[in-house]
Symmetry: C2
């Protein structure tokens, strides 16, 4: 198993489960502001450029943003229901909202915005998620111009993996991938077979 072999395993899993709409759904755990765990389903939005960093779109008004500002560490648990594979991906999350000072990051955020469907984008115009619902009736359809850039509430999360635990329930094999960073700031991965 060479470097970043977990990424290839993940790409294979995505391909073999691609017929399932929910194959891009994963669970993101963070530490809550009171020190207790939080866990919710998020959507995988691809890898960032040619890296192994994982992209997630989210609403800046959700609780996870507040949590990640206090503790940037997160763990994704991603179970593929057809191939019976689980990936546990542990890493740090970079929050990229409209106030980010780095032009390159703002550009990535914009790219992620336009890569989303118009339907996904219009969700960021909805009332504050998690707050009491003031209207008993369904919200009127919100129309958003396709050329409109990222709304304030739109936030791109980039998870940089540090450790990946891979479990295959069909072959009953489990692998642990660990990253380390060299003096020259180069990241490398080691892999070990562990008991399932």
């Amino acid at each position: 198993m060479g470097s970043v072999a977990w990424k290839q395993l993940l790409l294979n899993a995505l391909e073999s489960n691609a017929h399932l709409k929910h194959s891009s759904f994963m669970q993101l755990a963070t530490v809550g502001t009171n020190g207790t765990p939080s866990n919710r389903t998020v959507v995988f939005r691809g890898f960032q450029d040619n890296t192994d960093n994982i992209q997630i779109n989210t609403d800046a008004r959700t609780r996870k943003i507040e949590e990640l500002k206090l503790c940037s560490s997160a763990e994704i648990c991603w179970y593929f229901t057809d191939s019976w594979e689980q990936f546990r991906i542990n890493g740090n999350v970079d929050i990229i909202d409209g106030s980010n000072a780095e032009p390159l990051k703002l550009q990535q955020r914009e790219h992620s915005w336009f890569a989303s469907s118009l339907r996904s984008r219009s969700q960021y115009l909805c009332p504050n998620p998690g707050l009491p619902c003031l209207h008993e009736q369904a919200q009127p359809d919100i129309s958003l111009d396709p050329s409109t850039g990222p709304i304030d509430a739109f936030c791109l999360l980039i998870l940089e993996p540090h450790q990946v635990d891979y479990l295959n329930l069909k072959s009953n094999q489990r692998l642990t991938f660990k990253s380390s960073v060299s003096a020259a700031a180069e990241k490398s991965w080691t892999v070990e077979r562990v008991n399932p």
Copy 2:
């Protein structure tokens, strides 16, 4: 919405997704010993007696036990892939292993052991999960007598829910259920409709 209405919603979801083997799979987040989040798939083993407490079987040698001993708080994220419903169930976890001092709890552990398949039970005889795998070859089949009681490594977890967040992606409705305990130690639930 009356008391413990979330339990009825969950029972309905279990029923409408029962044709999917993975419908009993949920993701359990804990806080790791270094303060960072952990997340893994576990299997729902039913409610404890007539309560709304959630039962999970696990191996006492897994990292989650060490983590739960330090921080008993956990959050389940359970996404039902056919009905598009998500339950986030936050609560405290009671760890019941063979050393438990309460006879009633030991009885519950034994009950959960015999309620598992023989195949599930024999997993607790396997080498220590997560430790380096010393044998390149597949393990020989381990035979376990069906009358044998719980193995040392077998552990029952009971999650007592404090808060439940329910999201239905088909109807786009979201509900937050919160529990409180009266002076007479009676638990009650309130529900609020919140923005999805």
